[in-house]
Every structure is written in C-alpha cells, then in structure tokens.
Subunit: 361 residues, 3 copies
Amino acid sequence: MPQLVDHHCHGILREDLTRDGFEAYLTESPDPAPPGTSFFDTQLGFAVRRFCPPLLGLDPHCEPDVYLRERAKLGAEEVARRLLTAAGIAEFYVDTGLPGDLTTPQELAGLSGATAREIVRLEHLAERTAAAAKDPAEFLAVLDGRIAEAARTAAGFKSVVAYRHGLDLPPEPPGRRAVEDALARWLPTGGARITDPVLLRHLLWSAARTGRPLQLHTGFGDPDLRLHRADPLLLTEFIEAVRPTRCTLVLLHCYPYHRQAGYLAQVYPHVYADLGLTLSHTGARATAVLAEMLELTPFGKLLFSTDAHGLPELYLVGARLFRDAAAEVLGSWVERGAWADADADRVRDLVGAGNARRIYA
Amino acid sequence: MPQLVDHHCHGILREDLTRDGFEAYLTESPDPAPPGTSFFDTQLGFAVRRFCPPLLGLDPHCEPDVYLRERAKLGAEEVARRLLTAAGIAEFYVDTGLPGDLTTPQELAGLSGATAREIVRLEHLAERTAAAAKDPAEFLAVLDGRIAEAARTAAGFKSVVAYRHGLDLPPEPPGRRAVEDALARWLPTGGARITDPVLLRHLLWSAARTGRPLQLHTGFGDPDLRLHRADPLLLTEFIEAVRPTRCTLVLLHCYPYHRQAGYLAQVYPHVYADLGLTLSHTGARATAVLAEMLELTPFGKLLFSTDAHGLPELYLVGARLFRDAAAEVLGSWVERGAWADADADRVRDLVGAGNARRIYA
Amino acid sequence: MPQLVDHHCHGILREDLTRDGFEAYLTESPDPAPPGTSFFDTQLGFAVRRFCPPLLGLDPHCEPDVYLRERAKLGAEEVARRLLTAAGIAEFYVDTGLPGDLTTPQELAGLSGATAREIVRLEHLAERTAAAAKDPAEFLAVLDGRIAEAARTAAGFKSVVAYRHGLDLPPEPPGRRAVEDALARWLPTGGARITDPVLLRHLLWSAARTGRPLQLHTGFGDPDLRLHRADPLLLTEFIEAVRPTRCTLVLLHCYPYHRQAGYLAQVYPHVYADLGLTLSHTGARATAVLAEMLELTPFGKLLFSTDAHGLPELYLVGARLFRDAAAEVLGSWVERGAWADADADRVRDLVGAGNARRIYA
C-alpha cells in the first residue's frame, strides 16, 4: 500500500461523542438535520458506515447507533488509533487554526506512528496577534516576526479569505497606510474575527512573500461563505500579481469549481490544486469527481488531502476514498489502453505523496 | 414498482397535435428547429421514441411520423390514459399557472387513477388578481386572501422569478410603501406580465410567510430567462433572510447548477432540490446527472418530479428515466460495496415519494 | 471509417522541434512546466504518447524522448504526412490568424490529400488592415471590402474577443461615430493588438452581417483570457441582438462551460457548439466530456473539430479521441437500449461531418 502525504488536515476531538455530536461532523451545515432526516443519510455518512465499522469489529454499513455504541465502548483514543493507523498516512500537515480542544499535530501523528508538520492559518495568527498588540506598528512588527518564524518551522500557510470576504479581492498588496488605518479600526476589538479586506490581503501578501506554499480555501464549505464568491477563478488576478514572489499557491477543495481549478493549475506554474474535502463529502462519487479533476490539471499539480477534522473516521474515509478512486479511475484508463500501467502507478504516487513532498520541501 | 409522487408538473393538452405542434414540447426553444434539424434529434426526443411507442403497440425507437400517426389514430385522451397509467405516479402536484387549454389537476389524476393537488404559481395569481383590483390597497387585500386560501388548500407555491427578473434579487421583503408605489405603476396595465422586482419579492415573502413549501424555478428553461442569472446560488441571501418564516424552499430543475443546488440543500435545513425538467431533457444522460445530484444533496432533501407539460409522453419519460437512473446509479454503488442494498432501496423511495410526502404534508 | 470535417483548426510548424518546443504545444500555459513536472504528464501528453508512436513504428506510450528522437529522424514533413493521413480528416477549415511560420490551408490539406477552406480571424484581419490604413474612413472602407471578400471565399469568420476583452460586451452594434473615435485612438499604433471593445464589437457585427458562420472562442485557453469572462452565457444578449442578421454563431471549445453552451444551442436556432480544444486536452476523459455535451445540445447542433495547432500530432489525437469517444458514448447507449443503433450512426456522422457541411455550405 503506497504511503500518503495528507497535506491539509486538522486535529481530532479527544472526547467521546453523542450521536448528534458525531453527526455534526458529517455535514458542512452548522444546523441539526431537519426532522425526518439525518446527516448519516449523505455520501459522507454512508462512506463512514462503509469503511469504519470493520475496524471496530463490526459489519460494514451497520446501523449508526450500533457503530456509535461500539465506538463509545472502545473509547475515543483507541478508536482514533485504529482508524488513523488503517488510513496509512505517513505525514500529516495540520492546519492548527480551528477552535476547539483538538489534538496537536504531534499527538495526531503519535496515534499512528506518522510524522507531522504544521500549516499556519493566517487569519487565526492575526487574531491571536491582535489580542496582544497595543497599536498598528507593534501589531505589524509582531506579525512579521511570527510569519517569518512560521516560514522557517511550518510546512506552509493557509488562508480562509473565502469565508471572511470571498475570493473577489483586489489583487495587489495594500499600502502600508491603508493597512494601518484598517488596523486602527480593528485592533480595538481585541482580535475579533478578521474580515477587513485590506487586512486579509495584507496577510495573503505577507505569507506569499516568504516563498512558502500558501493554501487557499476555495469552493464549498459551511454557509459562512458564499459559494459563488469562492470560485477559484476569482483569484486569477491575485495569482498573476503574486507570481513574482515565487510563492506556491495550493487551491483547496475547489468543488463544484474543480474543473476551473484544474485550468488554473495548468496555465500558471505556481498553482496547484487538491480535492480534500471534496472526495470525503462525495463518497461513492469520489471516483467521478477525481476523474473530472484529472482533465486539465497536470499530474504534477494535484495533491491528496483528507481535510479531516474532529473525527478520526474522516482520515480513514478520505484515504480510502482516494486510494479506491485512484485505483478505479486510473485502472479503467489502463484497461482501455488510454494510459500505460507504469504511468498510472507513477501518477497515483505523485498525487498521493510525491507532489506534496516536492512543493513543501 | 414503488409509487412516485410527482411534486411538480403541469396539465396536458386535450387536442391531437401536428408534428410541429408535438416537437414544440420536446425543446425549451420557442422557435422551430432550423432547416436540416429536428427537435426529435435530442435526448428528450430519443427518450420519447424509446419509452412511448410500446404503449401504443409500436416498436421502441420507431420513426417519429409512425408514432404520431398511431397517436392520432388512438386519439389524445386514449394515449394520455395509457401513458399516464404506465408512468406509475400516485400523486400529482400540479402547477396550474401555465397558459393554454390544459387539463386540470383532477382531470390529470383521473386519467390514471391517481390523486392530485395544486401548486399555486405566484406570478399568475398576482396577474389574475390585478385584472380585478382597482387600487393597491384592494389588490393587496385580495392577494393576501388568495394566498391564505391557497395555503389552506394547495400543496404549495411556485415562483418563476428566475424568468421574470433573475434570482439576483435583494433578499429582504420590500416595504409596504415600495409595494404600493410599484402597484401604482403596474395595476393600470390590467395584469400585464409582472416583472417589477419589488412586486416579485412581495410575492415570494407573502408565500414564505404562510409556511407552505415554496418552489423556485432555477437553472435552465426557455430563453425568456438568462441562465447565468438562474444559478440557485444567487438565492443564498434570500435563503438566509427567509429562514425565520419556517417555510421550505424547493429548488426546481437546477441544471447545469445542480451541484450548487445540492450544496444549498446540504447546508440549509429548509432547502430541498429536484431534477424535474433536467432528467427528461438529458435522457440517456439522466443516470449521470442524477449521480451528480447525489454528491452533496442529503438523501432526505432530493425530490422526484417530471415537470411534464402538454404531452402525456413527458410523464412517462420522466418517471421511467428517474426509475431507471435510480436503479442504475444506486445499483452500481451496491454492487461495488459502497452502499448497502437496504440503504439503496430506502434512498430510492425517499427521493421518489417519501421526501415529498413529508415536506408537503 | 467515416470521414470527418474539421471545422476549426490551424496550420502546423514546418521545422523540427526540441523537447521544450514540443512540450509548449501540449499545454495552454505560455510558461515552462515548473521543476519536477512536465507537460507530457497531462491528458494531452498521454494521448499523444498513446496514438502517435505507432505511426512512427514505435510502441504506444513509449517515453517522450524515444518518440521525439524518432520524430527528428523522420523529419517534420514525413511525420506530418503520416499523422495527418491517419487522422482521416476529409476537410480542414483553417483559422489563418495565428502568428508563426505555419503551413497554409492548402499545404496542410496537401499533406493528407484532403481539401481546405479558410476561416478568417477578425482581429487579425483588422490588425493587418490597420497597418496600411491612414485614417478611420480608409480603414473602414478597406475592412468592409476585405470582410465582403472573405464572405465570398472563406468558410467563415472567427473572433477571439474572449481573449481581447471577455465575452461580457455590450450586445448592440456600436455607432459609426464611436467606431471612428476608437479608430482615431487605435490606428496610430499601426495595428497593435486590438482590445478596444467598440472595435471588437464592430468586427463581430461586420462579420455577422455577411450571414456567414461566425466562430467564437469560448471557455478555456491560454491565460491571456479570464476564464470566468469566457462563459458562453455572457454572449446571451449578443446572441439575441445579432439574430436578425441571420448569421450562424458557433461556440468553440466551451469547457468547462460546455453544458451552458449546449443550452444556448438548444434554445437559439442560430447557435451551434463544438468541443475542439476540449477533447484533446481532456484525453482519456474525452468520452465523459462528449457525453456531457450531448445532454442539452440538439444532435444537429454539435460539430467536431480538433483545434490542432503547430503539431500534426494534435490532428491525429483530436480525430482519434473524437472517434473513440463517440463510439463509446453512443455505443453504450445503444447497448442499454436507450438509443437505436441507426440513430447512433446517424448522430455520429452529423457531428463528425454532416452538421459542418450543412452550416458552412
């Protein structure tokens, strides 16, 4: 089983979960499922029921309550250990910017004998910095230091500007004066959710200038975003403007605009793409979506990730769906004579691990 | 054969049709097919030729003229009886707002021993009301009464705001004064086609406040709309604004933005989606399109419909394409071990009937 | 093997190519592939390695360097002769507006015993005209004459307004005065790249008024365009405005907006669509993309092309991908009983040649 590098994921919860608590991680909705429905009745719910019960000694597709009962009996840590080990992920690049009592990158890696690196979420870094800085000049100095430090120690940066504003931002870096003015308005909030487009752009450019890879959420997510403002094509001008910094941009998730992301990855040398969240949430359709992503995206430009968060189940599901989908898609092309067998193996390994190792090196 | 609830359809024509008259119902174009082409040469045309001739004692895929000759010989009513009965639809929810001499919901149901309920088209209701109201105050009072009456007697409401303006409307309800001003401009037309965005929004909010399901045309249709202004994502702000009314929104058709609709159905508890017009017009591709819709849409949020209009053929085609597509898509997932057999049956029944029965109850 | 009409292609290079020079034609990127990657690692690169080596006596999927060595040994002309002949294209309609030392339509046709017609690229025609015209009045007179001449002798016109401005142009023809003012600004440049929207619209309308088919680049291409401004739906108002001229509009390429293009082809009698560039660049996925295009597009409205440019390989790849994809897509529908066998053959021949012959007659 070829190893995987999961270049974008999050920590998992330490505590046991109720059914409602568990279901909340099977959807991008912040609300409970409406009466008469369940978030287990989704592609992701079905994929969890397919892949996870056997690791707990149960039949695939067993009822959710049967699964959750056995899960509680074994305890969150033992379940995490089993599922994470079965996922076969060799390296985790963990975005540590999500709230909640989640495992650290080292804890996560420790559960399965993998290694871990950190991905620094820019908006979270700025909010933490704001809480301690008394004026714009101090904030900017501390922020610069922290970004420089992260560039030395972390695998890369991540931005959720898609959630905070939308990807339709002016492409050029904001001037120092505009940034200071925006800080003068925002710092007094003590680090409230950062949404000022001037500050969001300052973060993007500060990260880009380090030359480290910069991950950008694009496509679907929770309804805190507006999906049509998360089309990665809206980044086109920024992609062109930022190119002289020699940074690498990684478009995350992308669905349903993944063909658009594939186009950007083809025409811009510094643009890469992933399908993290997408394969998990499309479940039995991961095969079809991966195939679509392999239309325009050069094979040296696509990266595997799970975007797993909260549940160890999501690592296993993400890894299994990717492995199965890659085997099915590439295998069918080999069978039809469209691809050579050796090329199929090579592309699978590039997407699963090699591309990430190369660009985050 | 599990029964179906067709939650969105229209009446059928009573008279026999010429070839040109028949072809006009095989396309969303209001124009004749250009020289050298025929609207029978479409996925919908081929689907009609596949499913309908056997009900008239002919071979599948017989030539259009052979089919139309036999159809004329049997007569419109006998043909309707045969095709509608074969469709196996147990309940019709009929949008009665289309012009022309079409069957009533009761007539339609009577042809196949089904039951029928009405869907009230808001713009049509307003236009009928305008024809009789002498001033804004009277209009609003009569409209309120008719909407309240419809909320008691009909299955739900429908809006074609996508045709009349586009889905990019301000989300909030218009103020009373703005509505009265708009009425002062529009009422003197005696009920002309309603396109004023203030009035269109007033209709949407009036229906939403009743708490009954509100169907919204989204995606493709005749060229009276602008397709890029019918992307259901343009409704996002309205979806959020209207949520406190506790109404249910059903996004109709959706293509080619059906993945976007599936996203909305996943993240908003009060949003549902359908593929009515889409499956019929994509014919042999209905399988693929249904599969795409089953990516993000929770399985308790998708509804079958035919959107059949004018021709009884369209009921049979819509029902057969849905049944076959569901069997093929879900069956292939069961075969690959991705889904359990019992889950596949349950999801098929939810989409075919259960979800509609629950939300229109 | 049914013959094909390639209604949109370009000339090929006469000289032998280095590996970098060859790779540059396998991508829409103007940049070299970033370190560690190669443009051979794309669907188009794999398709070239699949279809072309056997024509040079090599195994399919041989290494790029092996292929290029043999190619150099045989020489560009002999390779072109073999690949073009194997493509089985009976008629080439050649857009002559690309720069570089490319074969003429007659040379191209001569290599494979086919016939050739010219497609006149409007922007190129204007730029050539500008270089010689001393004032707006003279420019317009000469341009009118050249367009009238092209209407008599060429197969049709092509516009790359998607590259020069985006498809979001005001739909109506610009007034004479506005055109003259724009010319007064532009003519002194001596024929620089034309980007003024007034002049671009004047070209579109001048071509449309001749009644000859007008090809419009839509969808993806090199990063000189903004993909979201190349959605063919942005042409909707122009499509309606230009209809009285009785011209035929052919939407080229379309991806990833090919479903949107199919919609336009269904609802407007004068709109046609093609998948030229798209099938080549999606390679093993050409089957799936062609199937999507056959959802709403009436079968009398879709046209085969290769959009081949520079490399004779691209003719063979485009033709083989189309033939194989059509056989697989239509064949699977026949197998499932969705289509009749005779209809499948008929549709394949319409798309491959018949539709082009009819509309460019």
